[in-house]
């Protein structure tokens, strides 16, 4: 999903700043200590509480009951979504760690493999020249052996419209 699409999928979030002066802050900190909430959570809940109070004026008992039920249901859904998202984040972070480590390893091993190939190439060229000099005929390269595992992979690549591994 692109960033543009993400902007369409997720509702807009807005940040605001609340400045509390010393008398308010003393009272607020006492409240925080009593409730055991974090600073930001407390500010958010208190602002939301003002809205909740305003929204409740003029409601009938039935409406209050309905609103309470709806709010509880949405809160349960949100908690579940947050739990699932946190869980997925943990998995993704582990994936990032794993892939990063694997890529680092490739950064180290690929140059070594390339060097080994170059050495072998040079050695083989020398031997080929030597064989040619002595008039020795070397049989042409046979096709690479395809293991059953690779064959199966090629089958699935073919099924998935991907080119098979070249041999």
């Amino acid at each position: 999903m692109s960033k543009e699409r993400a902007a369409l999928v997720f509702p807009a979030l807005v940040r605001v700043w609340v400045r509390l002066n010393k008398p308010s802050l003393v009272r607020f900190e006492q409240f925080l200590k009593r409730m055991g909430w974090s600073d930001e959570d407390a500010v958010k809940i208190l602002l939301a509480y003002a809205l909740a109070v305003a929204k409740g004026s003029g409601l009938t008992p039935e409406q209050v009951r309905d609103e309470l039920g709806a709010a509880r249901a949405e809160l349960a859904t949100l908690r579940h979504r947050a739990f699932m998202a946190d869980d997925t984040i943990r998995t993704l972070e582990m994936n990032i760690t794993g892939f990063t480590a694997a890529l680092d390893q490739f950064e180290r091993s690929l140059p070594a493999m390339e060097e080994e190939r170059a050495v072998l190439m040079s050695l083989t060229e020398c031997l080929t020249a030597e064989a040619a000099g002595q008039g020795v005929e070397v049989t042409p390269d046979p096709p690479d052996p395809v293991t059953s595992h690779q064959s199966l992979l090629n089958f699935f690549r073919y099924q998935g419209n991907r080119p098979p591994t070249k041999k």
């Binding site: 509702p11 003393v26 208190l46 939301a48 909740a52 993704l92 994936n95 190939r117 190439m121 005929e137």
Partner: protein
């Protein structure tokens, strides 16, 4: 001589940064005559007073009536639940956005990893092919009497020692 009682260290003022869903913030904004950090602070303080009053009402109700059926009790529960809900909405969306960003990052890393795997596999196959070719040439050369090689310092030294010069 006596020292004044120690007061807790509270800064002169403090700014809190909070995040809401835009639509929820619009509704909060509608509660205020003017929009400023100070007005928001006043709303927080007013709400704090209301919260404390409601808490006292709740405690009084706990001893006198059935909270599941009492209208006031239900209204207090509705307020608290709605406040938690509004604060939870933005947090959930923020977490899901982070999850989405990490998902994109993992996809990119996975693609790079697959590319490196292909590169390593290609190199591995090329090396194996060269080894097999080298073995075939060496085998073919073994069947032929070797022609003396052009003298290199190393081969000269080897011959020198094999002739019993030492």
């Amino acid at each position: 001589m006596s020292f004044p009682a120690e007061e807790p260290l509270v800064p002169v003022e403090r700014t809190f940064e909070v995040e809401f869903l835009e639509e929820d913030l619009e509704e909060i904004r509608a509660l205020m005559d003017e929009w400023s950090e100070g007005a928001l602070a006043a709303l927080v303080v007013e709400s704090l007073s209301q919260f404390e009053r409601d808490e006292a009402s709740w405690k009084a109700l706990e001893t006198t009536s059935n909270l599941d059926t009492d209208f006031t009790g239900q209204e207090l529960m509705r307020r608290e639940t709605l406040a938690l809900l509004i604060s939870m909405r933005s947090r959930t969306v923020r977490t899901e956005m982070r999850m989405h960003e990490l998902g994109i990052k993992v996809q990119a890393l996975e693609a790079r990893h697959a590319e490196k795997c292909r590169e390593a596999e290609t190199l591995h196959q090329a090396t194996a092919r060269l080894r097999r070719r080298r073995a075939r040439i060496e085998e073919a050369l073994r069947g032929v009497t070797p022609r003396p090689r052009a003298s290199s310092p190393r081969s000269w030294l080897a011959r020198f020692f094999t002739r019993g010069n030492v």
